[in-house]
């Protein structure tokens, strides 16, 4: 079975972010990039599937990024993925979510897959659209928000996280599954994994390799446009309640929660 994990490099979540007022794009070069934390769960799940399935199951990492995105690929390989493919092309800059999904789907068709795993969203844009959009392009089922995943013969079954609990959803493979944070505890790249990673193959794909239609990508192909951006204002100071005894304190908190319609 061939499992492909689609991953993204994102600006370090803790770093302060700035936008280029001209292009209205995030200044990515100024910030250290890391592997999208949500994707670590997808990689971990893929590795666990490989461990349980055994045999000739392989885990491939797929990413679309500028050259320096190779760092996040190395991390994924260090965790234990077998190989990687990377779409890198200057013409990709400015692509929106739809174009991203289009290109990833083309690359997936190019490299082949039985199961595609994704994180639910990326920490930079937080759209959470890509997994379903990829599936749509590939005309395969999308199973999203999996908090548990099981592969049975040529089918996949997940527990889909919903507000009140979970729903059991299943489909035949091939399929695209996005996994939530609760699904597992991602491993660290081990030292041996890191040293072994440099021997693993990273295939570089161009837009021509995957047969991309240039009109559908980049700034020109974008269906959405950033009109403006405003920084989030500093959070207002919290309210402090002073109480003379625990009972009074509890009462004040209760009143507050009721007033906010929290309970």
């Amino acid at each position: 079975m061939k499992i492909v994990v689609a991953v993204k490099q994102v600006p370090d979540t803790n770093a302060e972010k700035t936008f280029d007022p001209q292009t209205k794009r995030l200044n990515r070069s100024a910030i250290e990039n890391v592997l999208n934390p949500f994707d670590e769960y997808a990689i971990e799940e893929a590795l666990r599937c490989k461990e349980t399935l055994g045999g000739d199951t392989t885990v491939t990492i797929l990413t679309m990024a500028p050259q320096r995105g190779v760092d996040v690929v190395r991390k994924a390989l260090g965790m234990g993925a077998d190989n990687a493919a990377m779409i890198s092309d200057d013409a990709i800059g400015g692509s929106d979510t739809m174009a991203t999904a289009y290109l990833l789907a083309l690359a997936l068709k190019h490299i082949g897959f039985d199961l595609v795993l994704c994180g639910t969203q990326s920490t930079d844009a937080t759209n959470g659209i890509v997994p379903a959009a990829i599936a749509e392009h590939l005309r395969v089922p999308a199973l999203t928000y999996a908090k548990k995943l099981e592969i049975k013969a040529s089918a996949v079954e997940i527990q889909r996280e919903v507000e009140t609990g979970y729903a059991r959803v299943g489909s035949q493979l091939p399929a695209v599954v996005s996994v939530t944070k609760g699904i597992n505890e991602p491993r660290y790249p081990t030292l041996k994994g890191i040293m072994g990673a440099k021997k693993k193959e990273i295939t570089m794909l161009t837009l021509a390799d995957i047969g991309a239609d240039l009109a559908r990508i980049g700034e020109a192909g974008a269906k959405t446009q950033v009109e403006s951006f405003t920084p989030v204002g500093a959070r207002a100071r919290g309210e402090v309640f002073v109480a003379s005894d625990p009972k009074e304190g509890a009462r004040k908190i209760l009143d507050f929660l009721i007033a906010k319609k929290a309970i």
Binding site: V70, D71, Y188, P189, T190, L191, K192, M195, K198
Partner: protein, 389 residues
């Protein structure tokens, strides 16, 4: 103006895999080790679970070759790793240091292939733990003057004597033990290194020493009373043990320096954050030049130390002699770490003296750095000897 030509022979950029190793260990320390540092201090014990995680990471095989299951990252890689681990707490670096830097290192440097094939894989995997037993009550700095004896007895040697202050002596499975095989020859031909299974009859572990710091890492005596060690467990050749000890300590000194750099860098980061946040006289204390100068000096010393470590490691990896550099690294970086943590405590004021900040722990833990693996006076003797020979 930008230089037009960059000389290619001097490159300070770490390789991609070492960068990944560094960031991966930074995350590991932040998420797994630092949060339990206070618990380790209070209980004087590293929890089993943390040791298991360190094992999974491959930390017990850090400096060893891939052939035996090690990480194969060379001395530079090992130093980069220890720099990151130095940010956690001395308990972790001491456990790894006694095992990798000196205990198993003695065998890795001079042991026969058979010996390494037999023992290294389990040591690299962290399934077995090693320690290094050179010091004795009567022979500390004057290590050539040890009196633990090894007498030939058929196919084996019979060991008698006492080693003390042995890091991990209470928990290790094996020790590199240095003993006198020919009292007439002394350090030049009279000392031999043995790989000793510490569960051999005739080996007793003394009670844990009560120390100033390094809680979570223990030292104790190892007492040998007619302990039989098979002759095939000799590390290297009979009579060459003192050389093995010195070569091992050369390696250990570089990585010890790396740990100093990491802990000092962490103290600087904490001090910067605190200085920006702590307000006195209506302004953050970072606005005061007196505090700024402390930070500036700390950063400068760390910068010097880090470059010394990396250069020494580069020399070791290039196969050049580096004894003098190793002694310089050990001397400077340990004094630097002690000085930096002292300044960090000063910047933190009374809070630094309190348990919660972790600064007072680092302060106590740093002091040993100028003493073990050869006191800083002994390092100066090594440096001077090289200069004057």
């Amino acid at each position: 103006m930008a230089m037009t030509q960059v000389p290619q022979s001097l490159n300070f950029e770490l390789s991609d895999d070492l960068k990944l190793l560094k960031s991966s260990l930074r995350e590991f320390v932040e998420k797994e080790l630092w949060p339990i540092a206070e618990q380790v201090e209070e209980t004087d014990e590293i929890p089993r679970g943390a040791i298991d995680k360190m094992r999974e990471m491959g930390l017990f095989g850090l400096p060893f070759s891939e052939e035996y299951g090690g990480a194969g990252i060379g001395e530079l890689g090992y130093c980069v790793a220890l720099e990151e681990l130095g940010r956690a707490s001395a308990a972790f670096t001491n456990l790894l240091g006694a095992h990798c830097s000196i205990g198993a290192m003695a065998m890795h440097i001079d042991g026969s292939k058979e010996l390494k094939d037999r023992f290294m894989p389990a040591l690299c995997a962290g399934d077995k733990l090693a320690c290094f037993a050179l010091s004795e009550p009567g022979a500390g700095s004057d290590a050539a003057n040890i009196s633990t004896s090894a007498r030939r007895d058929g196919d084996a040697y019979s060991l008698n004597g006492v080693k003390h202050f042995i890091t991990s002596g209470d928990v290790a499975d094996y020790a590199s033990v240095f003993a006198v095989t020919d009292p007439k020859l002394g350090a030049r031909g009279g000392i031999t290194a043995f790989w000793v299974d510490l569960n051999t009859p005739g080996v007793t572990r003394g009670p844990k020493d009560r120390k100033m710091g390094l809680f979570g890492s223990h030292t104790c005596e190892l007492i040998f009373q007619d302990a039989k060690v098979p002759a095939e467990n000799i590390i290297g050749k009979v009579g060459f043990g003192f050389l093995t000890a010195m070569k091992t300590l050369d390696m250990g000194r570089l990585s010890l320096g790396a740990g100093c750099v990491g802990s000092a860098a962490f103290m600087l980061e904490k001090s910067i954050a605190y200085a920006k946040e702590r307000v006195q006289f209506g302004k953050p204390i970072a606005a005061k030049q007196a505090v700024q100068f402390m930070l500036a000096d700390m950063a400068t010393e760390i910068y010097a130390g880090r470059n010394m470590v990396y250069h020494g490691a580069w020399k070791a990896d290039s196969g050049e002699r580096f004894s003098m550099e190793a002694a310089m690294v050990k001397r400077y970086c340990s004094d630097m770490a002690i000085h930096v943590v002292d300044r960090a405590l000063q910047i933190h004021g009374g809070s630094g003296f309190m348990k919660e900040t972790g600064i007072e722990r680092a302060y106590r833990d740093a002091r040993i750095l100028a003493i073990y693996e050869g006191t800083n006076e002994i390092q100066r003797m090594i440096i001077a000897e090289e200069l004057l020979k």
